[in-house]
C-alpha cells in the first residue's frame, strides 16, 4: 500500500473525531476526579457538579431546561426509551403510533417490535426528496394515537423534515411528539419549545463528542416508563452509574458545536454545493434528498450502471472514507429503505454514494474527492455490462 496516500474522511454522518480539547476535558473524570456521582464525599461532588454543567450545556443547545435532559448511552437508547417508554406508559389511552418510512433503524425496528407487543404503527410516506408532508401526519391521527415519531434530519439523504409543523399538529391533537435528532443536533438550530417537541434523541459522537453517550430530552410533565431499571440515577428514570467523562465531553462538544454553527454551516454548505456540482457533472448521476432543505454536510448521489460497494472500496484505496445505501452483504440483501421510499428507480438504487463533510474538510479535499469519484465511476462503468457505449472510455 502507498504510505503517502492522502486520507479524506467523508463519513461524518457515521461518526466524527472527538475534539482534542473535549478529550482532554474528559480525562480527569477517569483518572483523578473519578468519584461516583451518587456518593456523598467531596470527590463525588466534583463529578456531580461537572454533570450538572454538562446538563446545562445540553439544555441550552436545545432551548430546554436542565431538568428536562436525561443522559443515556447514545441515540439508539434514547430512541428506544422514548418510543417504548411512551408506548407502555400510554397504552391504556391508545396503542397507535405514527412514524415515517425513512426513520433510522433505532426507531423503525423499535416500532416493529412494538407491533409484536400489540401496538399498531402507521408509516407516513415521503416525496421524491425524502420529505414528510405534515398533512399526511395529521390525517393519520386517530383517537388511539399516543405518539408521533419523525426524525429531524435523515441520516442517508440529509433531508430536514418540517418538524415545527408536525409539532404544531401533535400539540393541536394532544398527541406526544418525539424526534430522532441525532443527525441534526450540533449541525442545525434546534428549539424544542418553538418546534413543539416533547421528546428528542441526540448522540454525542455525531458532533465531535465521544461515543457511547447521548441524551433524551423529555419535556417536563411528560411521563414515560423506564427502559433500564436499577439505581436512582437520572432522577430515578434511567438507572446505572453515569458515564461522567462521556457526559462532560458531550456537554463541551455540544456547546462548541453550537458556538461554531453559524460559521461552519455556511462554509460546509458552500463545500457541499461545490462537491454536489462536481459529482452531478458526471453523466447519468442524480442527487438524492432535497436540493436545499438538507443538512449542510450531506451529499448523496446515485450513479447509473455501477454498484455502491465497488465504489466505496475503490474510493477507500484512494484514501476516501464514504458510505453507500447499497448492501450486497447477504442473500436477502435489499437496497436502502430510504432511497426506495424516495422512489429511486431499482436500476440505479444500487449505485448510491453518501459523502458527509465536516469542519476539517478543505477545498482541496473536495477537489481531490471529485477527481477520485470521476475516475472510479469511469473505471466501474468500463467494467459494467450495463454501461451504454457512449459512456465507455473505449467503446
Amino acid at each position: 500500500m502507498n504510505t503517502e496516500k492522502r486520507l479524506v474522511y467523508m463519513d461524518h454522518a457515521a461518526t466524527t473525531a472527538t475534539r482534542p480539547e473535549v478529550a482532554a476535558a474528559m480525562v480527569p473524570f477517569m483518572t483523578s476526579t473519578f468519584g461516583n456521582p451518587s456518593s456523598l464525599y467531596d470527590l463525588a461532588k466534583v463529578s456531580r457538579t461537572a454533570m450538572d454543567g454538562a446538563r446545562e450545556e445540553v439544555a441550552v443547545a436545545l432551548g430546554a431546561d436542565p431538568e428536562e435532559i436525561f443522559f443515556t448511552s447514545g441515540g439508539t437508547e434514547s430512541d428506544n426509551w422514548a418510543i417504548k417508554g411512551i408506548a407502555f406508559a400510554k397504552k391504556a389511552q391508545g396503542t397507535h403510533i405514527i412514524t415515517s418510512v425513512i426513520e433510522h433503524h433505532a426507531v423503525s425496528h423499535t416500532c416493529e417490535w412494538l407491533k409484536k407487543q400489540g401496538f399498531s404503527v402507521t408509516y407516513i410516506p415521503v416525496d421524491c426528496f425524502g420529505m414528510v408532508d405534515p398533512a399526511d401526519v395529521e390525517a393519520a391521527i386517530t383517537p388511539e394515537t399516543i405518539l408521533i415519531t419523525v426524525m429531524m434530519a435523515n441520516n442517508e439523504v440529509g433531508t430536514i423534515q418540517p418538524i415545527a409543523e408536525i409539532g404544531a399538529i401533535a400539540l393541536k391533537h394532544g398527541v406526544l411528539f418525539h424526534t430522532d435528532a441525532v443527525q441534526a443536533v450540533g449541525h442545525i438550530p434546534v428549539d424544542v419549545r418553538a418546534q413543539n417537541i416533547d421528546l428528542l434523541s441526540l448522540s454525542s459522537h455525531k458532533f465531535h463528542g465521544p461515543k457511547g453517550v447521548g441524551a433524551l430530552y423529555i419535556r417536563s410533565g411528560v411521563e414515560l416508563d423506564s427502559l433500564i431499571h436499577g439505581g436512582a440515577q437520572e432522577r430515578g428514570q434511567r438507572a446505572g452509574t453515569e458515564n461522567v467523562s462521556g457526559i462532560v465531553g458531550m456537554g463541551l462538544a455540544l456547546s462548541l458545536a453550537v458556538k461554531g454553527m453559524p460559521e461552519n454551516a455556511l462554509r460546509i454548505t458552500a463545500l457541499r454545493k461545490r462537491l454536489t456540482e462536481g459529482l452531478l457533472a458526471i453523466p447519468k448521476t442524480y442527487l438524492n434528498g432535497h436540493p436545499e432543505k438538507r443538512l449542510p454536510n450531506n451529499v448523496n448521489v446515485v450513479f447509473a450502471f455501477i454498484e455502491g460497494e465497488s465504489i466505496l472500496l475503490m474510493l477507500n484505496r484512494r484514501g476516501i472514507s464514504a458510505s453507500t445505501g447499497s448492501a450486497c452483504s447477504s442473500r436477502s440483501s435489499e437496497p436502502s429503505h430510504v432511497l426506495t421510499a424516495c422512489g429511486v428507480p431499482l436500476e440505479v438504487v444500487h449505485g448510491s454514494l453518501r459523502l458527509t463533510l465536516g469542519e476539517e474538510t478543505t477545498e482541496a479535499d473536495v477537489s481531490y474527492t471529485i477527481d477520485a469519484v470521476k475516475e472510479v465511476v469511469q473505471r466501474l462503468r468500463d467494467m459494467s455490462p450495463l454501461t451504454p457505449p457512449e459512456l465507455r472510455s473505449q467503446p
Binding site: I306, E307, R317, C328, S330, S333, H350, P385
Partner: protein, 136 residues
C-alpha cells in the same frame, strides 16, 4: 472484509472487457442483489481460446467473474461447464460467507455463454444439473 487476492482481482481484473466477434455470449443477473455478469467466449475446436467478462456488482462478483475467466481460458467447453462457484472461491483463497452467493453469477454466465455457442451451431444446449451449486 476481503482478502488481498480478492481485492487484487477486483482492482486489477484480468480479462475484463468485451470480444467483438465472440462465438458465445452469456449474461446472467442475480435478482437477489442486482448483480449482472456478461461472459464473451472465443472457441476453436471445442477449446476456449479467449474469454472476457463485464460485471455490474460488488467486489466479490467482479473478482469471482475475473478469476473464473482465468480458470476456463484454454480449457475445453466441458471442463469450463464443470467449473463450480466453490472452485472459483477457493482459487480466490476464499470469500466471506455472506458473499459466496456472488460467485454463482460467474458460473451461470459461463453456462449461458457455452449454451449460446452450442445453440448457434445447432447443438443441443447442455442442461443444468438438478443439484445446483447454489447451496452453500
Amino acid at each position: 472484509m476481503y482478502n488481498e487476492k480478492v481485492m487484487d482481482y477486483f482492482e486489477h481484473p484480468r480479462n475484463q472487457g468485451a470480444i467483438e466477434d465472440a462465438d458465445g455470449i452469456g449474461e446472467v443477473g442475480n435478482p437477489e442483489c442486482g448483480d449482472t455478469t456478461k461472459i464473451y467466449l472465443k472457441v476453436e475446436h471445442d477449446v476456449i481460446t479467449d474469454v472476457k467478462f463485464q460485471t455490474f456488482g460488488c467486489a466479490a462478483a467482479v473478482a469471482s467473474s475475473s478469476m473464473a475467466t482465468e480458470l476456463i481460458k484454454g480449457k475445453t467447453l466441458k471442463e469450463a461447464w464443470d467449473l463450480s462457484n466453490s472452485a472459483v472461491a477457493d482459487a480466490l483463497d476464499g470469500l466471506p460467507p455472506k458473499k459466496l452467493h456472488c460467485s454463482l453469477i460467474a458460473e451461470g454466465a459461463i453456462h449461458a455463454a457455452i449454451n449460446d455457442y452450442r445453440t448457434k451451431r445447432g447443438l443441443e444446449a447442455w442442461k443444468e444439473k438438478k443439484e445446483s451449486h447454489a447451496e452453500h
